[in-house]
Structure formats: C-alpha cells, structure tokens
Symmetry: C2
Subunit: 272 residues, 2 copies
DNA sequence: GGGCGTTAGTGAGGTAGCGAACAGAACCTA
DNA sequence: TAGGTTCTGTTCGCTACCTCACTAACGCCC
C-alpha cells in the first residue's frame, strides 16, 4: 500500500512543467475521502477542484425514482470541475466518492488565476474535458445493454483507475451507479464469478480476468477506450510542443486493453 | 418559410463581435443538407466545422447490433467539431443529419487560426462544449426510461431546434436515434397522439402540446434543460465583459420550458 | 464469543420491450 | 389508374428486468 503521497500520483499534475508544479504545490491540500462523500452538490458554486490520486469520483444524477445514475468516473487520470474552464461555476451533477482514497484539492479561485489561456495547464484540462465527454458518450451508448455487460464496463473502468485489481464495492453501490436494482447486480455478479471473470466477498470485488469481461462490452466501448487512452497520452505531445518538461513516468498509466495473451491482470503506475 | 439565409441564424455566429463576424464571413459556405447525410465519420480528421441554421445534426454511435444511438443533437444553438478546441482533430462519433436544412461551414484550418486563446470565439465555443456535455449527460441519465418518455425528450429537443413545431421525421429514424425498434416508436407515438400531445402523418411529426410531454420527461431533464438554456444565454455576459458588440436578438431563442398556462406551442427566433 | 447491522442470495409474479412476420395505408411515378 | 415503394399498425411468443418479500451469511463490536 502506498503510504507516501504526492500530487504527482495524479496524471494531470505530473504532466505539468516544473515551474508550474512548484507554483501550485503550496496550494494543494491532501484530502482523505470516504465512500459516498459528496464533493459537489448540484448547482452550488464550485469552491475546490479535486485531483484524485487513489480515490475514484463519480459524476451522478439522482432520478426521481430515488435511484442514481452515474454518467462518468474520474480517477487519477483526471480532475473535477472542468466546467470552470468552460465558463461555468457550477454543474447540475452531483459528484460523489465512488471509491475511497486520496485526492489533492485546490481552491477554484486560485486555479482560475493560474489558468492562462493557451497555457499548458489549460491545455491539459481541455484534453481531459474531451476525454470526459467521450466517457459520458459511452454511458449514453450503453443504453439498454444487458446489465451484465454494463457491470463489465463499470468494473473495467474501476479497475483502470484503481491501484490494485481489488476494490471496496458493494452490490448496492454498483446498482446505484448503474441505475439498476441491487438484486440484478447480484445476479450478474454471480454469473461473472461462475465464469471466473471476477471474484468477490462481502464489500469487495476483484477483477480476475479482464479479457473475459472485455468480450462482453460493446465494440464501441473498446474503440472509445482506445481513443480515451490516446487522448490522454497526447498530453505529452502538447507538452513538448510547448517546451515544458514532461514527466514520462506519468503517461499511459491507464491500463491498456489487453492486446495479447497475458491479458488478465492489468498492471498499474504504482505497482499492483 | 425562410428563403433568405444568413449565418446569423446560428446563435454562436450571431453572438460574435462585428469585426470577427466580418473576418469570418467570406469563409462561411452555405450548405443544403439532407436527412441521413454523414457529416463526420469516426476517427477521420475533421476538415470542416458546421454551424447549423435550420438543420439539426446528431452525434451518433453505431452499435454492433446494427442499431444506432444518438448521444446529442446540435441545432442552430451550436456547432460541430468542438473537439478541435479541446486539442483533438477527430472524434469516434459519427455525425449525421437528423433533420434536413441548412448550415454554414468553414474550413477547420481557418477556424483554428481564428481561434485566439481567451478570445470571444473560443469562449463561445467552450460554452457550447459545456452545454454539449450536459446534453450528453442527459442522454446517459435517460438510461432505462420507458420509450415513451425518451420519445418525449427527443421530440421536445427537436422542437427546440426547429423553425416550426412540425418536422420531417419517420418512426424508423426516431427508432435509430433512440436505439430502439421502429415498432416501439409507433406504439409510443400512438399513445402520445391519443393524448393529444402530438400529431403525425407519414414522415412528419408535429408537437401539439409541450406541457403534456414535459410531464413525461424526468425532472432531471427539466433541470438540465434550464441549465443548458442558462449556459447559452450566458454568452451575452461573457461578451459584454469582453466589450464586444452583442446581437441581443440572438439570445434566448431556445424555446423555454413552458412556465405558464399557454405552454403549448413554442415560438421561435424566425417566427413559426 | 454472542448479537446485530449490513451485505448477499433466492423466488414468485408482473411488465416493457424485443424479434419476427405480416397487413394496410399513404405517397410516387408512369 | 395501376403498380411499386415506403411508411405505419398489429399480433404473438419470449426474455430481461422489475417489485416485493424473505432468508442466509458475514463480520464488526461490545
């Protein structure tokens, strides 16, 4: 387990040029976030921007049925509050902690001051905005897919953003994220477990065989996934073009689609 | 019917300061687009950016089942190709013409040159990007709603972006956009017609009573709709702040949620 | 180590939407 | 006016998911 924390565990921060990083560092505040914690409430002015390192945040909407539906997921590859960039101080979504862990946060007012038009920071954030849009489009496309397929995508995405291949997750929570009943999640999870794709025990789920799950998610997802990956890797490009010092260690840490045989367990930036 | 065409029928263009508008004008090319025409293919470099005036464009994904699913809709309030702004020259979505009509297009290379960081044009486009993200989130939230409700949202959105309250639309096309069977659309449409919410004849649909349909779409939609509206109206704000000459006629033309009794038929910029 | 709250598994009955297949109605063209 | 094409309406069996209701296991805490 990582005991040491650094803002560089977040890919956007780690892609910043040194001088920028140094400027921001004193304003970055480490936060320990627990499941279900509300980060942003709908239509309330954003006061902090969060850079997840080990936690996963979810943009969600509450339906009148009382169910929730997650529309996108933000891990260490991203940041919350991109709407600030787009000229809007709040969003109608609720952002909550989906997976516990750490994030660095910074006052929105400070970040805004540091956001020079055309600068590296802005460019990185815009890139992530595009990635977020694609991810949201994935959610929209998933429409009316069988629950088990949705569960696969959800778990793959969670896995992509988790330090290990095992993470705290109850069926209830997954149901909320997918906007389906808990029992349906249980049924789907049982099937996946029987197939050897996942394992779980009370409150924890483990991805065992990514390949099996990737077969279940739509082709469109895979395409989008690659695109997403490409987009975020591109950051380095934007960087050098701007003569900033890149941190090569930081790129491509999103677990890649298992292209070959040893597909099963994804490795991660900070080791499994 | 409007016989005269002007780029100012597009809200983004009409919100540009005069000098910018004058600069762009010679590069704007009027296009007559017919239903089903493909504007962007997935992962092909974008060569033109389209500003719809009377047509409606749709961002869609093809599912392996052969069905399509629309994730967002762009009318005269917006523009295609916002990804250029976000540092990406292509997108994995297919953009097609959902409703026939006109759009002005401009070479992507020219637009990029005109896009000064921090400028009005960039600001307007970023605003629209945020609106597009919200709209896509709506699609994602719609997940597992009954088809009739989805149909309502679709028709309301189409109505929002159409000059009149009647538009060319087959059940088949709607089915493709929603990712459901044509027969299911027919069934839902019959119900709505019986309720007096819509009327239709072979290939044409007419919105008769918006209020009835708004009651069917989720509260979340209404909230998002207002937000969307607010966002796009905000453009004027960004403008004045930047001392550009605004064109007041151009704002708030998205049909507002019928707040009062005479809800039924929305009026529109260019008259019904 | 026994109790209790939380999490997971099961089952019966209902329903919305699907797949497939076909009938009829509107429009087009010649 | 005839004949073809494109749209819309309808039917039937099937499946996935839902609602509701309940039981069973885990594991934390006193």
């Amino acid at each position: 387990m990582s005991i040491l924390h650094s803002p560089k565990q977040n890919q956007i921060i780690s892609a910043l040029p040194v001088h920028k990083y140094t400027r921001l560092l004193p304003f970055l505040e480490l936060r320990d976030l627990s499941v279900g914690e509300v980060i942003y409430e709908p239509n309330i002015t954003i006061s902090y921007v969060y850079f997840p390192t080990t936690c996963i945040l979810a943009r969600t909407y509450q339906l009148e049925s009382g169910l929730w539906r997650q529309v996108s997921m933000i891990g260490n590859e991203g940041v919350t509050g991109t709407s600030l960039l787009l000229g809007c101080d709040s969003t109608p979504a609720t952002v909550i902690v989906q997976s516990p862990g750490y994030a660095y946060r910074i006052k929105a007012s400070i970040l805004k001051k540091e956001l020079k038009p055309g600068g590296t920071l802005q460019r990185l954030l815009l890139h992530f905005t595009q990635a977020l849009l694609l991810q949201t489009e994935q959610s929209a496309v998933e429409h009316r897919q069988p629950i088990i397929n949705q569960l696969c995508r959800f778990l793959l995405m969670t896995d992509d953003r988790s330090p290990g291949s095992s993470f705290p997750l109850t069926h209830e929570l997954v149901g909320n994220m997918l906007g389906v009943r808990r029992e349906s999640v249980t049924t789907a999870a049982l099937t996946l477990q029987a197939e050897g794709a996942i394992a779980y025990r009370r409150g924890h789920m483990t991805v065992i065989n990514r390949k099996l799950m990737e077969d279940r998610v739509s082709e469109a997802y895979i395409g989008l996934k690659n695109e997403y990956h490409r987009l975020l890797s591109n950051k380095s490009e934007a960087e050098t073009e701007n003569q900033c010092e890149a941190n090569p260690m930081s790129f491509g840490s999103i677990k890649t689609r298992s292209p070959s045989t040893e597909a099963a367990n994804g490795r991660n930036l900070w080791g499994a």
